[in-house]
Amino acid sequence: MQASTLHQLNKKKITLSETELIHALRQKDKIGAEALYDMYSSSLYGVIYRIVQHEEIAEDLLQETFVKIWNSFHSFDSAKGRLFTWMVNLARNLSIDKIRSKDFRNNSKNQDIENTVNFIDEQKSTAINPDILGVKDLVDKLKPDQKSILDLVYFRGFTHVEAAEELGIPLGTVKTRLRMAIITLRKFFN
């Protein structure tokens, strides 16, 4: 646990390898909780915020997500996929449940859906992770129809069936476009 000593000395964010982190989370180690938060809070919060578009609600949901990760970690199977995939799907499910709940719909004074992405990008541009460069480049690389379907499914919680209805395109097209979008991402980040 070199990282923890480092953390205590420098008050720096803790980073563990995924294997180390999984081990620590299984042991319910305090380091595991800290590393979990430091490594993933921004990414998860970005997704949650994008879905609910409300800071306070997004922070509550992030907390709820971490509690759920922490308490139901035994159900994570590392053989079936990456830790982040499991966590982000928990976060997305909680967020989507939230925006579909009655009290949220009653209270929401959200922007028009179409403006969502730009709105967030403008508002939170300073908070965008500086380690990852070229968000703009990425957005440029993705074709508009690929980006819209990806954001609809990934950030707005549409199922591919709902997305097909929303965009008025066949299911097969939805799947292909999603695949093409993700292939673009893979190429871009490799």
Binding site: D38, S43, R50, Q63, D131, L150
Partner: protein, 273 residues
């Protein structure tokens, strides 16, 4: 291999990673992934791409949230521990003392109830006794009242008869047979009523085989006016048979039920108008 490639290209793996499959479809993808390494590689690649995409849009939550979340995680851990161990023992201890108190309370309540029941029972018996006494008294009283009403009634009747101007009172005096005997006869010639005053009667008591018989002398012939018994507790006026024109009344002692003709040697009293 062709099949695997088209399976990959169908886009189902992307949906799998984004959690957009039914449990059955999900299970099938997982089975395929176990059998085919190229599917596993593809899935990992998709996951990596999406993870990077999410990081690209990462937003830092407010700084104080870290402390809040970490505290919450610590708390939820202790809560989990509590759930499994302490809570059960607290519960059982609590319920033990609860049952102790409940038992003590029940016993006390039972005792109190028994005492109260006993006291109430005693009082009930007392009340019942008093009620019985009162009822007896009441019965005696009403008997007395009834008796007095009867007497008053008879007296009133007697008085009415005696007061009536039409009524003649004839005193029958004892003969040699019963020198001490005497009785009163009230005769109303207008209403043709004959009554004897039982309370003022002084006659020897008759036995069960004999009865007194009252006779009226009408133009020298005896006319039967009915029989009666001499009893000391009799009172009031006794109505006899009717007669219109009587000059005298007499009483003879006859066999029970009376005779057609008077037994003259058994005449007890006689009186003329």
């Amino acid at each position: 291999m062709e099949d695997i490639q088209s399976y990959i290209e169908s886009g189902i793996l992307e949906l799998y990673v984004m959690g957009d499959l039914s449990p059955e479809e999900k299970l099938k993808v997982e089975q395929m992934a176990v059998q085919h390494p190229e599917i596993r590689t593809e899935i990992a690649s998709i996951e990596s791409g999406l993870e990077h995409y999410a990081s690209a849009y990462a937003v830092s939550p407010s700084a104080n949230l870290r402390e809040r979340v970490l505290n919450q995680l610590e708390k939820s851990e202790t809560v989990t521990n509590l759930n499994t161990t302490t809570v059960t023992s607290i519960n059982s201890a609590k319920s033990n003392t609860f049952y102790k108190y409940a038992f003590a309370a029940s016993v006390a309540l039972l005792l109190l109830s028994t005492i109260a029941l006993f006291v109430l029972y005693t009082r009930l018996q007392e009340s019942n006794q008093q009620l019985a006494i009162l009822e007896t008294n009441n019965q005696q009283f009403s008997n007395r009242v009834n008796f007095m009403i009867d007497q008053l009634d008879q007296t009133q009747q007697t008085l009415n008869i005696l007061r009536s101007p039409e009524v003649k009172l004839i005193k029958l005096a004892g003969t040699k047979q019963a020198p001490q005997a005497s009785m009163m006869v009230a005769f109303n010639p207008v209403k043709e009523e004959v009554m004897i005053d039982m309370s003022a009667m002084k006659m020897p008591e008759n036995d069960t085989t004999h009865q007194y018989q009252l006779w009226a002398m009408v133009d020298g012939k005896p006319v039967d006016l009915g029989v009666f018994d001499m009893k000391t507790d009799d009172s009031g006026m006794k109505k006899m048979k009717t007669v219109t024109n009587a000059q005298a009344f007499a009483v003879t002692l006859e066999p029970r039920g009376g005779s057609v003709n008077p037994t003259m040697d058994q005449m007890m009293v006689i009186g003329s108008i």
